[in-house]
Symmetry: C2
Subunit: 805 residues, 2 copies
Amino acid sequence: MQITSPHPTNPTDDLDLLDRYWRAANFLSVGQIYLLDNPLLREPLEPEHIKPRLLGHWGTTPGLNFIYAHLNRAIQAQDLDVIYVCGPGHGGPGMVANTYLEGSYSEIYPDITRDADGLRKLFRQFSFPGGIPSHAAPETPGSIHEGGELGYALVHAYGAAFDNPGLIVACVVGDGEAETGPLAASWHSNKFLNPAHDGAVLPILHLNGYKIANPTLLGRMSDAELKCLFEGYGYEPLFVEGSEPAAMHRQMADALDVALASIRSIQQNARQPDATVERPRWPMIVLRSPKGWTGPKEVDGLKVEGFWRAHQVPIANPRGKPEHLALLEAWMKSYQPETLFDAQGRLVPELQALAPKGARRMGANPHANGGLLKRELKLPDYRGFAVEVTSPGKTIAEATRELGKFLREVITLNADNRNFRIMGPDETASNRLDAVFDVTERVWMEGIEPYDVHLAHDGRVMEVLSEHLCQGWLEGYLLTGRHGLFSCYEAFIHIVDSMFNQHAKWLKVSRELPWRRPIASLNYLLTSHVWRQDHNGFSHQDPGFVDLVANKKADIVRIYFPPDANTLLWIADHCLRTYNRINVIVAGKQPAPQWLSMKDAATHCDAGIGIWSWAGTEPADEEPDVVMACAGDVPTLETLAAVDLLRKDLPDLKIRVVNVVDLMTLQPRSEHPHGLSDRDFDSLFTADKPVIFAYHGYPYLIHRLTYSRTNHAGMHVRGFIEEGTTTTPFDMVVLNELDRFHLAIEAIERVPGLSVSAAHVKQKFRDALIEHARYIRAHGEDMPEIRDWVWPNSSGGTTPAQAGD
Amino acid sequence: MQITSPHPTNPTDDLDLLDRYWRAANFLSVGQIYLLDNPLLREPLEPEHIKPRLLGHWGTTPGLNFIYAHLNRAIQAQDLDVIYVCGPGHGGPGMVANTYLEGSYSEIYPDITRDADGLRKLFRQFSFPGGIPSHAAPETPGSIHEGGELGYALVHAYGAAFDNPGLIVACVVGDGEAETGPLAASWHSNKFLNPAHDGAVLPILHLNGYKIANPTLLGRMSDAELKCLFEGYGYEPLFVEGSEPAAMHRQMADALDVALASIRSIQQNARQPDATVERPRWPMIVLRSPKGWTGPKEVDGLKVEGFWRAHQVPIANPRGKPEHLALLEAWMKSYQPETLFDAQGRLVPELQALAPKGARRMGANPHANGGLLKRELKLPDYRGFAVEVTSPGKTIAEATRELGKFLREVITLNADNRNFRIMGPDETASNRLDAVFDVTERVWMEGIEPYDVHLAHDGRVMEVLSEHLCQGWLEGYLLTGRHGLFSCYEAFIHIVDSMFNQHAKWLKVSRELPWRRPIASLNYLLTSHVWRQDHNGFSHQDPGFVDLVANKKADIVRIYFPPDANTLLWIADHCLRTYNRINVIVAGKQPAPQWLSMKDAATHCDAGIGIWSWAGTEPADEEPDVVMACAGDVPTLETLAAVDLLRKDLPDLKIRVVNVVDLMTLQPRSEHPHGLSDRDFDSLFTADKPVIFAYHGYPYLIHRLTYSRTNHAGMHVRGFIEEGTTTTPFDMVVLNELDRFHLAIEAIERVPGLSVSAAHVKQKFRDALIEHARYIRAHGEDMPEIRDWVWPNSSGGTTPAQAGD
């Protein structure tokens, strides 16, 4: 694109001032990496002024500072509301330097004053024990993005822009990050951004040509190929290229003005009454500048500026080598700090004047501290969506379908606030949440055909076949103060394991920072789960995400296995009310017996675990012979069916049934706030009776959660043991020995003395397994008596009667 | 691109025959989804001929069949060596149908004969208990790719093509899959493919417009935008678009001929003597065809063909609804099976003649059963790379740097075979494996500048800032019979958790299929690990990958924590010799004390676990008071330092030191073939003494592995508890309470009676922790006495003396 600036006069002296501001930021960045003391170089630089360990990344930083300074100029000139997503998060010194220069840093950290003493502390704390991390992090004002693990800058930026019509999210994408898969897909987010209702994302692809030790793919591509690539993605790229600062300032100012004018024009057009909105061609900037720009050209005879050697600490040993020390001093002095800071060490007034004011400062923008802007999510009374359960097992319902009705109402209640979205990889209907489409649509900015279903330019549901995008959009949306739910096939949530890790880390640190206000929890609904992927087969069968989740800090994570629809409703309602957490709800979508009335569900979920006395056979005043425990809807069904078998064939066996909804109750209270006390645990699981535990996922997790409990040696856990294929639903549990027969057989074997006397019963169950295997191979479906089994106290499965719908 | 076919005459009757072949494949695909019996519809279709549960995906299948038929034609015409990577793996019926038609299926599964009876079995077994999965899977001849979890087709294709100069990998990318991040990045793999030495990848982007319940992003993009996008990625797209079969056959045949001619021309040019190879513009095909092509146009009044309703089973209930049954019968008969199969149910000879012969059939291509082609990796004697260790702790070395020297020799020995590659996300040098650059380079097909370092068009090292690409390339490379190593920062290997899962599943099933020959193991080197990410901070600190790994089938996975260089060498040598496994090696790269001579290392690693009697203080004939166990290099260091503290201050305490290299030894033998017997376990860990276990990762894993051991209640595990930031190395272990002082204090507290008498010692250790905290906050580095601590029996750290180098 030929750049024609709509603001044709940027007086040169403005850009001269801007250049000085940039130099100040560069000076502070170098200072953070290197200096313990002598921050303004008012004395000759000595080895003892240098940190003993040099930890930080210079290479990307001058480019980040350059962009920051230019965004400041635009914000000032046009009174813009902008946040800065820094993809190359390891350029932390730049983000800290800029927020310090604009004053937002010292407001949050008053100890880091805007004078020479504050500068000294600012430098010293960076990458220093007890100080601040080397990366942009929760500690960094204005940041919603760590950038430690690369790939998510652009998807976070889009998440922040949705439903924020006044906001511009400037997003710097490094050329290293641009090689990652999630980032490569993120460019397509423009197909989901509505210029009428959403804000704008301004991607700035920062090509400095190198990563740690290699050139970058995009850095080595020609402008012609890059232009083609990004036009193909649907953008209008503006190129800013060079290394001579004055010319680069002019180019960048012009490009930014063109881009912002283009954004304004797109939004104005889309926001006309009766506008017919089509996906616009949004602008983006491709900035080619040298890696380690303005740093040393060579060190020890090797090329540094404009090469990967500038990536981290360009001058390795100024504390030990006098020539390195001299080089560092010359480098820092090249920024002319005496022209940037006054006698007290304060930024000179003409440079201070360049920074935006108040909440317009990118380090003080409330969108980047989303809890400040968060409105409570309005929730309907979940009891109004109860499935009527007059006796356990009588009603048949699809748990997620009932949840869909609740979510429909959540969408309606919050429609005006536009602060709730549901993300999913093409699975909202497949996961049976489709009641939401009664009141909203899927967002889609591409063409819509007359026969398309539930697609619109505006909608609360976002579907794309990328778990990375779903997760990243939602993170960006939550971090800027909104609410949401991510519904996903259970197996494929592993695709975002690492994104989950990073979000958990962000929350862990954020919670320790009083100035960061709480944000809404990240809520996962994992459905189409392992036990009902009988049709898609082994690749779709993996319940291990919760194992990863359980590794995280206890106050961050929750894991729920509601066994039926009413418990799912209670848990979902609860999760949507929480803050600063990651809630994982695992629930099935298939028709299944319902166990608890809403009243009983509320009591059960509130405790998180409990004895289902209606299912057991223990007398009131005696200990049971065996505890049959279960967590998860299918394990609960199989456990109850096993109890039914045992009750019929061994009527004297004293069975207790324990159901676990909140997995964290199993941990000791010292490990997790939801953990049961040992006394309560023992009262549920006994001190020494066999416990046959049917668990939804890999059995090891239960052992790990309960290893220190009194009766741990008595816990016999069955779960998914990595056996599966395309088969029948019941065969899936048989393959993993989690079915009613295996459970009943183990109960018989574990109860002392019973094994021998009940040998014939065991044999009967074994025969039933063989018969089942023969039957399904002959008929291709489960035996009717298994498929249609109902809990004996109920009078047979019926369709759900809705209490509130 | 204007298509000009270099084979201008494809006689129409050829394409008519080809169309019939396609119809045969479509007929067989529908039959697999629906029919239990009456495979050739020679009787009227009855409800009892229909499967009770209809599990399969029709939508993508006709397009896959169309491509297969056209590839057959090209293979026949030009005698090509082609494998077919089927991205939409849920189009399994198509892959099965085609391998059946060409005869490769019946060769592998002789029970599925090429006649009416075989057809009946073929149909019946699909998605049927005891039969075959609904997706392309290990069971599918000619497949190296499951396609259940989407995103990896193209990266697998490139992995297969590297170092296979005669091979063409046809790779079908569905437009659903094309939305994923890994796939979006995979297009850039062309920057790593050398036309002189590698084979070709022919991507066929199959746009049928829809995923499960939505249009696709790429399907709705205009041809102009698509052309731009793929030209930007560096390809030359050829468009084939329409729905009328005859015209589509003509277009596709022409496009394929053009593409193959282009590939031939690129390769011929590159393979000239003295050719200067530049990255060529490889051809690709964009095929737009209707979803569910040739299926029912409408069902129950709703659009099906050309819409997402065709995704799975287009006619829902032919067993229950007569009008559905009639519709299905009419659909199947529309393929005119009576013209395709003879009286015995065999494909008619003129159609049989269209399929390639022998190993040219894509279902019989040996590259897709890589174990057939695999050559043993030549390995040097690892003992030649030993670090000299005359007494424990005396030598200082960097473990991965020593491994790099071994790998250098591996590369040299296998240079002629061109069957070993090292993958890494820009980290080979950072991970200190850079000795390999003595003998090879990083592959790079983009421009190379004079100042670039170790870049070349040919090389054994592949670096890209995408863990997805590294993993996917390596999988494709291994699955086609070669060898490799993936070196990665420990924290970011979580990015490929889900790819690991899928590869483990592939191996698990492959091992159960005798015709699938063993392939080389997937070897991970995880370094730059949690304890030495003190400079990058919290986002880079995550040791949880092994928790995921430990969930998988025991005979597939191995996890190793070599504590020093010689043990790392032994383990790496061992892993590179194994087959059909996933080996995870976690090892540090920082200078660290060396504990074992190569002889001792071999003994120790061979056992996988052992008592380090030189470090302990237990008398020969007495039980120890406490066992100090460790797994991982940093935990080993801290454990020995703790033992040193205890030996000095509590000389009477009887300490046993146990080091664990092979984590799987901790499991019961019933769970893992490497597991210790209970007797051996007890002899190491005692039946009842306190065990202070310093573990590299999340402590829960040790509990989970050992929960059933006699002394489990005595196991006190310390590990990473999710505390970290940018700080000093020793502070990292202190923050997680894994340091020598915490270990020593816990030992004192756990040994009965000692806690009171040794109160002053505990206090001394606590004071040391406080002093450490003060010191690092003042100085920014660890106290010299901690940093420079050496095992007391050694005479101080020295640089390594190389035995064999």
